[in-house]
């Protein structure tokens, strides 16, 4: 009888004995008898004395630490099928191209075991490369982009928005089906599909868009020359985050081409920049930089003369010979004045009513004297001003000489008018579908909120963004694009110049490059890779000359290996100026009417750029080259204005910045104020690109931190709402703002708190071109360092202060063998070629696994950068002046720290100087830092016990103490660079330092060792230039040169023997292996009073 069958576990249960059944129903037995144990008499009377307790403790600790000595079992898992090109432990380099809609550069990508870990400029190919130099120019944004690949907050697959804020992951098949279904529906209704992108310079991407267009829209010949569109109307709208629309429109009206011309600054003897940061943020800075730097080294022939007119001190202004501060509202007057001054000489019609000053007539004279060898560049995005500038250049005969309209830039081709029309159409519900790629208009449009609202009026919105950012989070679908290091692409930055982007890693996530998405939705039978090959095949067929062209595959392989293919031969055409200067002048004047007390210049920082990569912690922690501030945007104000407003001028760890409310029309927000010597009084400047993710969008961790409650805390404020439409294009000038001090303060993380070099002549040396050219450096700008000695050197029979001996002859230590034995690695840094871009700094971060420490630690001066970029403003106070005016010493030194109203600026990259007689080495109690036979100052982290004596004894202050374990979760918020995904970016050849040790520049000893090994294996001496430190490789302008000082034919040796060469703080007798070349300014000597 199964129904009565009983199952029992033990006899107690079988017997149903009450004792045995007690407590069976609870998971754990009843309460533990702790009270019993504690109340036990024996326990209370136990005599474990203090000593016994300590003994147990000691034993326990000892046992635990001994047990920890056991080596863990490490697995080693080889490939099943090893790819032929990969040898574990050996880096592969791939030529590729960076283009994000703004920056363009040909690059080399270093991969280790299939992971990209470093980016540097391509020395063999690219428009960012000086054909005579070995490097290509990149900037910090480009070499930091490798970290973006390993951003753990990337969208990892297609997602669809449900309701307000919920998003659900889907498969690509589902996404494609849904999106194609909607597109078909729109097509069948004859709706409008818009693809919104930044400027596309890729012929194949354009072809992909064309394929997409052909799928959803067919144009039929309706007879009588009429085109009839059947299906959807597919439009491609290009929108540049930073607009060049006014400039392009001016060129259209003047020369019939709506483009940005190419400039050749290497041919310009006189360069006039008006409100134009051409070395950092305007046009194509990677191309401008090398051309500019080429003419800045006086050894390269006549040095160019650079005038700069601007309101804020830009990187370009800091490099200029003559800089004049003007307000944005003064730009039209200045341009009219300059125009008329030149028109007088050229016999052209004058406009009249422009500014007139000595400076303008001098500039006009110099420009006229250098006709056809000069260039005027203006960064104001306003049609009127640009038209006049075009006419100035045309009168000077610069078209076809320094300015090239035939081989124009293809970058920055967006048209603000088209973008605004799109916005109006969206609002009116005339757009059926919108596909957004690579731009973030909700964030970066003057009226971004309107764009977000308008998105709701669009039937289908698809974003290919890699983050659920401001725009993407408002779209129905996010179909995430690959990172560029995972993608195929091609580019044509100029006619006939083809560049390739090739994938250097398999996609990390379930993403798909946007061109492939378009092709998929176009039901095309080809992927983007195939499309690129087709495009190139056709292009080469066009370039083929007389059957000598090698077969396609050969050409393709060569192009892949080198990064591209150059068939740059634009036909030269005569340019005729057709612009209307009078109308332009009145347009420009009208645009600056109603200027108020405060004018605002909105600019892009060298580190953050337009803000689309603001989530890159390397960039956030990179100090701004001029203000030295990290992790924030702020109001740059002239120190005079700050004094008048009673704001805090001195910033430091315990000296926070004053906060002001800056208001433009109805928009206003609070920002801290940072003193900016050189800023035109009455103007302030605010950087764009900050304030990402203010509404809680997932923009990536470094761009938007979280406070203690987990609320989003954007880094800085978004200043794009301050931009406005002026004469049909977006203006980055605000002519009437209000600035109100709030009385509040805000801590600022700043890495260099002193502004000047306090009159020392041994840190930075500079002179004028005339002095350099005609005088003996030893008696003028580059005197040898001497020390007073107790020997009658001048043989005047008296031992006094005049008895000075050359510092090289005075030494505590014996001569060190490195100066004649084997290698002596050294570096030479040309202060003339250094533009201050800071690409060296981020290259060092990437190469040497330097941790990001976050704003709070930077504020405590604990940033870990091995290479810093010092910036010195000149001061009006000098020792001579103090003597003349009878100013006391203390006052003199106080004044020396005050920069002039119109300071000159020097940038100076400083890393460990690898002194042959290093003061750090002699004070280390454990010999953790020692000298090598090759001239390197070595640092053994595992020996270091963290006394920091060395850092205290270093005159250059280049040793950094590692305070914390930056890989720990505590730093996860600020150091997202090294979370579980981010750690893949680490260079496996450089150890990750732990807390408690000093670290510093090793001169990339891992690269030196690798380079020597290559030479040994090949059985040849180390070829000069084959070993490059990360900073030298990143420096496309050739400011940093690395090599073997003991090699008589090396470039670094030649540089070190140049007349301008000096050692920093030579008088302290450290004998550094790094030398600097004194800064030469192309200014008249008589002006130097």
């Amino acid at each position: 009888m199964p129904s009565t069958k009983r199952y029992w576990k033990d006899l107690g249960e079988l017997d149903r004995s009450s004792e045995a059944m007690k407590g069976r129903d609870s998971e754990f037995p009843g309460p533990l008898p702790i009270d019993q144990v504690l109340s036990d008499k024996g326990f209370a009377g136990a005599t474990t004395g203090r000593r016994d307790f300590l003994k147990f403790l000691g034993f326990g600790l000892g046992a635990a630490s001994l047990a920890a000595c056991e080596t863990p079992v490490i697995k080693s898992i080889p490939y099943v099928n090893k790819p032929e090109e990969i040898t574990p432990g050996v880096a592969n380099w791939y030529a590729s191209t960076y283009y994000d809609g703004t920056d363009f550069a040909s690059i080399l990508v270093k991969t280790r075991e299939g992971r990209p870990i470093h980016i540097q400029g391509n020395p063999r190919f690219g428009i960012n490369r000086d054909p005579d130099l070995t490097n290509g120019v990149i900037n910090a944004r480009i070499n930091s982009s490798v970290l973006g690949l390993y951003d753990s907050t990337r969208v990892r697959g297609p997602v669809m928005r449900h309701g307000e804020n919920e998003r659900m992951a889907h498969s690509w098949a589902d996404a494609d089906k849904a999106i194609m279904g909607r597109l078909d529906e729109i097509g069948s209704k004859g709706g409008r599909i818009v693809i919104l992108t930044p400027t596309i310079i890729s012929p194949s991407s354009k072809a992909a868009i064309e394929r997409f267009r052909m799928k959803y829209s067919t144009e039929l010949d309706g007879g009588d020359g009429l085109q009839v569109t059947v299906g959807a109307q597919v439009d491609h709208v290009q929108y540049d985050t930073i607009s060049y629309s006014g400039t392009a429109t001016a060129n259209l009206k003047c020369f019939g081409k709506r483009v940005l011309p190419s400039y050749d600054l290497s041919k310009a003897d006189v360069l006039v920049g008006i409100d134009c940061d051409l070395l950092s943020g305007w046009g194509n800075p990677t191309e401008n930089s090398w051309q500019y730097a080429k003419r800045r080294r006086p050894e390269n022939g006549p040095m160019s003369r650079h005038w700069q007119f601007e309101a804020r001190m830009s990187i370009t202004g800091a490099n200029a010979d003559m800089r004049l501060a003007i307000k944005p509202s003064e730009v039209p007057g200045l341009v009219i004045g300059l125009h008329d001054a030149i028109a007088k000489k050229a016999g052209a019609t004058l406009i009249g009513g422009g500014a007139d000053s000595d400076a303008i007539s001098r500039v006009a004279d110099e420009l006229w004297a250098a006709k056809g060898r000069s260039v005027v560049m203006c960064g104001t995005n306003e049609e009127g001003v640009q038209t006049m500038v075009d006419h100035i250049n045309w009168m000077l005969g610069n078209y076809g000489a320094t300015i090239d309209l035939d081989g124009h830039q293809r970058l920055h081709a967006g048209d603000d008018a088209v973008m605004l029309r799109l916005l109006a159409d969206m609002k009116a519900g005339k757009v059926g579908a919108l596909i957004i790629q690579g731009v973030n208009p909700v964030y970066s449009l003057p009226n971004g909120a309107a764009f977000r609202d308008a998105l709701a009026q669009v039937g289908l919105t698809v974003s290919t963004s890699d983050h659920a950012d401001e725009t993407a989070s408002a779209c129905q679908w996010i179909c995430p694009d690959h990172h560029f290091l995972e993608s195929w692409n091609d580019h044509m930055p100029k006619a006939g110049r083809y560049a390739l982007t090739q994938p250097t890693i398999r996609p990390l996530h379930d993403t798909r490059q946007w061109q492939d998405s378009l092709l998929r939705w176009a039901a095309a039978d080809v992927d983007h890779h195939g499309l690129i090959r087709d495009t190139w095949r056709n292009a080469w067929a066009g370039h083929a000359d007389g059957g000598t062209t090698p077969p396609f595959e050969t050409m393709w392989d060569r192009a892949l290996a080198e990064g591209g293919y150059d068939a740059y031969a634009p036909a030269r055409t005569e340019q005729m100026f057709n612009g209307d200067v009078q109308t332009a002048a009145s347009m420009a004047r009208k645009a600056v009417e109603g200027a108020g007390d405060w004018e605002v210049v909105l600019y892009t920082k060298e580190s953050i750029g337009n803000g689309l990569h603001a989530n890159n912690p390397w960039l956030q922690e990179m100090p701004d080259p001029l203000t030295k501030v990290t992790w924030d945007n702020y109001v740059c104000m002239s120190p005079t204005d700050m004094k008048n407003l009673g704001l805090n001028l001195y910033l430091g760890q315990e000296a926070p910045a004053s906060v002001v409310t800056i208001g433009v029309n109805e928009t206003s927000f609070d920002l801290p104020v940072v003193p900016a010597p050189g800023q035109r009084p009455g103007t302030v400047s605010v950087a764009l690109g900050y304030g990402r993710g203010a509404n809680g969008e997932e923009v990536g961790r470094a761009a938007c931190l979280k406070d203690e409650d987990g609320e989003p805390m954007p880094v800085g404020h978004n200043a794009y709402p301050f931009t406005s439409l002026v004469n049909g294009s977006i203006s980055y000038h605000v002519l009437n703002a209000t600035i109100t001090p709030t009385g509040a303060t805000y801590p600022i993380a700043i890495t260099q708190t002193h502004l000047t070099d306090m009159g020392r002549d041994s840190v930075v040396r500079e002179t004028e071109f005339g002095v350099w050219a005609e005088h003996d450096p030893k008696n003028t700008y580059n005197p040898p360092a001497t020390l007073p000695v107790h020997v009658d050197v001048n043989e005047d029979g008296e031992i006094d202060a005049r008895d000075r001996e050359d510092v090289s002859k005075v030494d505590l230590w014996e001569e060190f063998a490195v100066e004649s034995v084997g290698h002596r690695w050294g570096m030479s840094i040309d202060l003339n070629a250094c533009t201050g871009c800071g690409a060296c700094l981020t290259a060092c971060v990437s190469e040497n696994n330097i941790p990001v420490v976050g704003k709070d630690e930077v504020r405590r001066s604990r940033e870990m950068h091995w290479l810093r970029l010092d910036r010195y403003y000149s001061s009006d106070m000098t020792q001579e002046r103090a003597e003349e005016e009878g100013i006391g010493k203390i006052e003199m030194y106080t004044d020396m720290e005050h920069p002039s109203e119109m300071p000159r600026v020097v940038f100076m990259p400083v890393m460990c100087q690898h002194c042959n007689h290093a003061s750090c080495e002699t004070v280390c109690p454990v010999a953790a830092t020692t000298h090598s036979l090759e001239g390197l100052n070595m640092m053994a982290y595992n020996r270091c016990i963290g006394t920091r004596y060395c850092a205290n004894n270093c005159p250059y202050k280049v040793r950094r103490f590692n305070w914390f374990n930056y890989v720990s979760p505590k730093f996860g918020e600020v150091n997202p660079a090294w979370d579980d995904v981010g750690r893949m970016v680490l260079n496996p050849d450089v150890v990750v330092r732990s807390r408690g040790v000093i670290e510093k520049c090793s001169m990339c000893v891992q690269r030196i060792q690798a380079g020597k090994l290559e030479a040994k294996k090949a059985g040849t001496p180390v070829p000069d230039g084959s070993i490059q430190t990360a900073c030298a490789a990143a420096c496309g302008t050739g400011a940093i040169v690395f090599g073997d000082l003991n090699d008589p034919n090396s470039r670094v040796r030649a540089r070190s023997e140049e007349e301008r060469s000096y050692h920093m703080l030579e008088e302290v007798g450290m004998r550094p292996n790094v030398n600097y070349l004194a800064r030469v300014r192309n200014i008249e000597t008589e002006n130097e009073a």
Partner: protein, 446 residues
């Protein structure tokens, strides 16, 4: 069954082994013995010279198994013509030949310049071929062979015995002393515990006891110090070498050992190809194993065959597929080897520097891996002391290397300038690695 003679376990084992050996030898002899030994031998020689790279006697490889080929061809075509020049023969349109050609992925057989008789000899060899039995040396070890017993239990027993004897002697001594004292009319000695006795003795012999105490403490401390040095060290003298169990029992001796010992003498760098190029010597990926093991499916022992099967599992090779010709299934399982030689993360070591430039033999650091180690083990201690000791003694291999010629030229030039370095270096008539910077921190730590 009564045993006339009682044999020891050892001799039983020997007898069993001998029997097994004899049995297996007879078996293989009886199978492998062909009728015409001369033709068989000739065929075997020819086969190994000309055919073995594509054929096996009894299995498919690139080409078909040769066993029974004559029979298969019988009446369908001319096998001799086919072997002489298959391309020509295909043109004749022979159906069987063309089918064969299609079956083997249209791979042409290399024309063979051998006579018809020789072809017959090869086919005769193939027909009479039998797979070799495991070599006699590898015969299963007879059970019951005595294992080597460790010596320490004996010492323990001896020690205990000593303590017992000493204690009883002590008791006897005490009894005798008391008896003497009683005889002399003294009080019996106080009954002390052993510890009390020891203390009393130490008190009476202060100098000796303190010297002894000091000695014992010193020995203990020195032992502890030396022992502490070996913590985390898994190689070198007097330390148990690290020899983890590996997922595949790869036999280094068999693969890399001397040919004279019936080993294969494969160059180390055939598999560890990174050693000349990279900092890692690298563990070969299984596709390298397959270069040989695609053909070599059987080990010398059944165990060996099993291990080879593990490679097949890793690369996804099905030897039975494709009619015994084998095929990749696409199912790959990476092999999780256990890393034997582990250096700390803060040490940079480059194999290329030592192998390609320093021209060191692998064995100098890895020990007799090709002769004595079947399983890889850590032979050298891999301590920093061990590294720099070698750097201190080894002469840098400078001759014939342009890089070092340049270094030497600079040294000589500096010598001409009156610097002492070159003379100092050459005091011991050689330039050691250390003298060129081999003791510098940043050579290995960065």
């Amino acid at each position: 069954m009564p045993h006339p003679v009682r044999l020891s376990h050892r001799s039983t084992g020997l007898v069993q082994a001998a029997l097994v050996l004899l049995f297996s030898l007879t078996c293989s002899w009886s199978i492998a013995q062909p009728a015409d030994q001369a033709q068989y031998d000739q065929g075997e020689k020819l086969f190994k010279q000309n055919c073995a790279s594509c054929h096996k006697p009894d299995k498919r490889m690139t080409g078909p198994a040769l066993k029974g080929a004559k029979e298969r061809w019988d009446g369908k075509g001319d096998i001799h013509a086919w072997v002489h020049n298959s391309q020509e023969y295909l043109k004749s349109g022979n159906e069987y030949a063309n089918a064969l050609y299609a079956e083997y992925n249209k791979t042409l057989m290399t024309p063979q310049a051998i006579s018809d008789a020789e072809i017959d000899a090869v086919l005769y060899y193939a027909d009479n071929y039998a797979p070799p039995a495991p070599p006699p040396g590898e015969a299963p070890v007879p059970t019951g062979a005595p294992e080597e017993t460790p010596a320490w239990p004996w010492f323990l027993v001896l020690g205990l015995l000593f303590v017992v004897v000493w204690m009883s002697l002590n008791g006897v001594r005490k009894g005798l002393t008391n008896a003497v004292r009683e005889q002399q009319g003294l009080e019996p000695a106080p009954d002390m515990t052993m510890w009390q006795g020891f203390k009393a003795w130490a008190w009476n012999n202060k100098v000796f006891a303190s010297v002894l105490g000091l000695l014992i403490t010193t020995v203990l401390l020195v032992t502890l110090w030396n022992w502490a040095f070996d913590i985390g060290v898994y190689g070198g003298d007097g330390v148990a070498h690290y020899r983890p169990e590996q997922p595949i029992a790869f036999n280094h001796t068999l693969h890399a050992g001397k040919a004279s010992d019936k080993n294969l003498q494969i160059n180390c760098q055939y598999c560890h190809s990174g050693a000349e190029k990279s900092k890692h010597a690298g563990i070969p990926s299984p596709n390298v194993c397959m270069n040989c093991h695609r053909a070599v499916a059987e080990g010398r022992t059944p165990d060996g065959t099993q291990e080879i099967a593990k490679i097949y599992a890793a690369v996804g090779w099905d030897p039975a597929a494709n009619n015994g010709g084998g095929a990749y299934t696409g199912e790959e399982h990476p092999i999780h080897w256990v890393k034997v030689h582990n250096l700390p993360d803060h040490v940079f070591f480059s194999h290329a520097q030592h192998v390609a430039v320093g021209k060191l033999e692998c064995q100098e650091c890895h020990g007799p891996i090709d002769t004595e180690m079947t399983v890889a083990e850590q032979w050298a201690p891999l301590t920093m002391g061990w590294c720099i000791q070698c750097h201190n003694e080894k002469e840098a291999k400078m001759a014939g290397n342009g890089y070092y010629d340049e270094i030497m030229a600079r040294l000589k030039a500096s010598d001409d300038l009156g610097h002492r370095e070159l003379k100092q270096f050459l005091e011991d008539e050689k330039i050691t690695v250390r003298e060129l910077g081999g003791w510098e921190c940043a050579k290995c730590h960065y």
